[in-house]
């Protein structure tokens, strides 16, 4: 049975993730150029990996495959952003 402390920490972790997305959406609206928007999505994706490590590390379910899963999802988001925002043509 999970302790109250455990539930509070997990709730905070979820709130932190939602807050990060909210801040990213505000920054997204403030910027006008595609490069800045791509960097916002890139940073958010990298923070998502760190969040995954923090969350699963706390719940004692962190292993290489879970880390790989979060990395792959972040890679999908980064590549989609590069394609969708027209950034890939500069590389």
């Amino acid at each position: 049975m999970k302790s109250k402390h455990h539930i509070i920490i997990i709730s905070i972790q979820y709130v932190v993730l939602i807050l990060a997305m909210f801040v990213a959406s505000l920054l997204f609206q403030k910027t006008a150029d595609n490069f800045s928007r791509f960097y916002i999505l890139l940073i958010l994706s990298l923070l998502y990996i760190l969040w995954g490590v923090w969350h699963h590390g706390f719940t004692e379910r962190l292993d290489k495959l879970i880390l790989l899963e979060y990395s792959l999802v972040s890679a999908i988001v980064i590549l989609l952003s590069a394609l969708g925002l027209g950034i890939i043509r500069f590389f």
């Binding site: 993730l17 997305m21 990213a24 959406s25 997204f28 006008a32 150029d33 595609n34 928007r37 916002i40 999505l41 958010l44 994706s45 998502y48 995954g52 969350h55 699963h56 379910r61 292993d63 495959l65 879970i66 790989l68 899963e69 979060y70 792959l72 999802v73 972040s74 890679a75 999908i76 988001v77 590549l79 989609l80 952003s81 590069a82 394609l83 969708g84 925002l85 027209g86 890939i88 043509r89």
Partner: protein, 279 residues
Amino acid sequence: MFHKTLVTYVFFILSIIFINFVLVLKVPDILGYATDVKVNDLLFYTNDLREKKGLADLTLNETLSKAANAKANDMFKEDYWAHTSPSGKEPWDFIIGTGYDYIYAGENLAVDFSKSKDVVVAWNNSPSHRDNLLSPKYNEIGFAVVNGELQGRKTTLVVQMFGYQRGKAQLATTPPATSKTRDVKSANTQAAVPIPEVKEVPEAIPAVIGSVLSSATVMSASKYIALALGLFISIFMSIDWLYVKRTGIIKVSGHTFFHILLLLFAVAGIWYTNIGLVL
């Protein structure tokens, strides 16, 4: 089951890389130009924005358009994407070079757009460009919509130049001040600015019409492909998540719900963004 999910993610990544390679990097090499960006439409949408803010319409000025064309051609010739050329030419140099004696002048640039409305919307979404669009200081405008090869890819460049001409009653005693900003103020503040004569609207510069897909159209296609892929992957993840929940399969994995949330956030961001660039 978990490994199959990871393999599927790897497959998605490889698909996106393949699409990037074929669609974005290779296809523009074999395509030409076509654009739906037209001077008349750019003027219409610009003045429409100004009318909504209670500002007077800008009049299309042939001399300013010639200056815009000179700037566009210079950008292609010297292969740069900036307000100031590598050789140090400022936008005001092109304006003065065509004989347009201005009190106020400004410039907006755009590249890789396929529709006129998208260009003006992108400018309006950027505070500094919007300042130019909605400035009460300007009364005339010029456009250039030019096809060419810029930084290795075929594209359509849009140059928008704003101006307010010095009237004949003005004393042209001091040279115009130059500034790093796009809005240039004159050093002459002695005489009141006279209301200029209403000029005949010059014949609109004909739109450049091509026959095949342009880099801008390819970029638009890449945006919609990214959106479609993003939604497809989100739906795939949702089905996987629902299946696992319903069948009660114990799967040691990350939070699929948050994966979907992140992906949908990226999809929303791509949807919100115009594919072209403004400067």
